[in-house]
């Protein structure tokens, strides 16, 4: 397995306190093993996320 970097764009219009659950659910549903992720930027509803992913 390798670990690579990915830049992901998502739309999110929910409440801030639900954002962690939303992101966890996104990675789980997509079957993505994200070792590390962070929202780098939020423009309106658009999230720009950087993630370190195991493939």
């Amino acid at each position: 397995m390798t670990i690579k970097n990915a830049r992901i764009q998502l739309n999110y219009s929910g409440r801030p306190e639900k954002l962690l659950d939303f992101l966890d659910s996104y990675f789980e549903t997509k079957g993505i093993d994200a070792l590390r992720f962070a929202v780098e930027e939020k423009k309106g509803n658009k999230l720009i996320i950087n993630a370190s992913i195991r493939e």
Binding site: P16, E17, L20, L35, A38, V39, E41, K43, N50, R54
Partner: protein, 354 residues
């Protein structure tokens, strides 16, 4: 009386003006720790090459494990000491190994760190630094199996904590810019994913120190007078020193359902302190979810753009600098509403019945 416990987070590889170099967040960390019973910090905050000068009440917890702590999956159990095993990358020159082994022996003989031994990976792990569009540094690992096998072997021989020292491929232009204070630490993001991987696989304390090539060693030792925040690197690249000191008594990571009363869990966390522009990681998102006060320090600038305003966060206490953060923490510990330390006093509200 309940303990007062806070966490200090400075994400790795984001060019934080305080904590983005080597151990340069230690004074701020120690000042905050002086008004807490315990302050939880991660290696990037206090690692200073050969030195770890954090106070005794600073708990050293790797980032992935810290994320699990914030998610409520694990608690922290304080220990007096750990047996530490060391993993070194394959394929380096003798000069690199000599520096690493001397660093280990220095920590054994001077600090008394219990190192059970070291292993060299069977294959090169091939770790590389990657620069993102926002000029932060993240990393890639192309042979994680070699790393996992070496860690597994050391744990089988009794290691309770793992120090890893791998070669990380970087662009020397980035290292030059870093020493001039113009770039994020090129090693940082890769170090974070190396330790995240081990934490995820084994659930024990771990941290990473770069294993430098002879060219990198010479570069670090002969860069002239560097940015003061990187000076700990320019006086000697014995990176394993700080890692072994931190791991020597890093708390054990206990699954939540196995925690006992003395263990520290997320329910006991009173506040998190972070840079103002770094609200997009798990610690800040968990603070929002669990309504933990989040002290956001404006003076600690980074290349990130996830400010409380953009994230729509409500539980944030903005402060200009760490002087103010210490004051807010001290007030919270004493049970004083920190707003009452400022003027004008807000008008008392008449609360209407719903």
């Amino acid at each position: 009386m309940e303990k007062f416990i806070a966490a200090h987070i400075v994400p790795t590889g984001v060019k934080a003006s305080i904590g983005g170099y080597v151990g340069d967040a230690t004074p701020a960390t120690n000042a905050m720790a002086s008004v807490c019973d315990y302050l939880i910090a991660h290696p990037n905050v206090v690692n200073a090459v050969s030195m770890d000068l954090a106070r005794g009440n600073v708990l050293y917890v790797e980032g992935f494990s810290l994320d699990r702590f914030f998610r409520g999956e694990i608690g922290l159990r304080k220990v007096h000491s750990n047996k530490v095993g060391v993993v070194l990358d394959k394929g380096m020159k003798k000069e690199s190994y000599d520096l690493a082994l001397n660093s280990i022996d220095a920590m054994r003989t001077v600090k008394g760190v219990n190192v059970i031994g070291y292993e060299i990976t069977k294959e090169i792990v091939d770790a590389r630094a990657v620069k993102t569009k926002s000029n932060a540094f993240v990393g890639e690992i192309h042979n994680e199996r070699a790393l996992i096998d070496a860690c597994s072997s050391l744990i089988g021989k009794g290691a309770e904590a793992i120090a890893v020292s791998l070669a990380i491929k970087i662009d020397f232009n980035d290292l030059n810019a870093y020493f001039k204070g113009k770039s994020a630490n090129p090693y940082g993001g890769t170090e974070a994913i190396i330790s995240h991987l081990i934490s995820k696989e084994f659930g024990i304390p771990c941290a990473h120190a770069p294993l430098l090539s002879p060219r990198e060693i010479r570069k670090e030792m002969h860069s002239g007078v560097v940015d003061p925040r990187a000076a700990a690197e320019a006086i000697g690249p014995a990176y394993l020193g700080c890692v072994l000191q931190g791991l020597s008594n890093a708390p054990h990571l206990i699954r939540r359902h196995e925690c006992i009363e003395e263990d520290i869990t997320i329910d006991e966390l009173d506040a998190i302190v972070m840079p103002y522009s770094c609200m997009g990681g798990v610690p800040a998102l968990a603070a929002q979810k669990l309504d933990i006060p989040l002290i956001a320090v404006k003076e600690n600038r980074t290349v990130m753009k996830a400010t409380p305003e953009k994230m729509g966060f409500r539980n944030v206490i903005p402060v200009n600098n760490y002087w103010e953060a210490v004051g807010v923490l001290a007030s919270m510990k004493e049970g004083i509403d920190f707003n009452e330390l400022r003027r004008p006093v807000k008008k008392l509200k008449l609360l209407k019945n719903l």
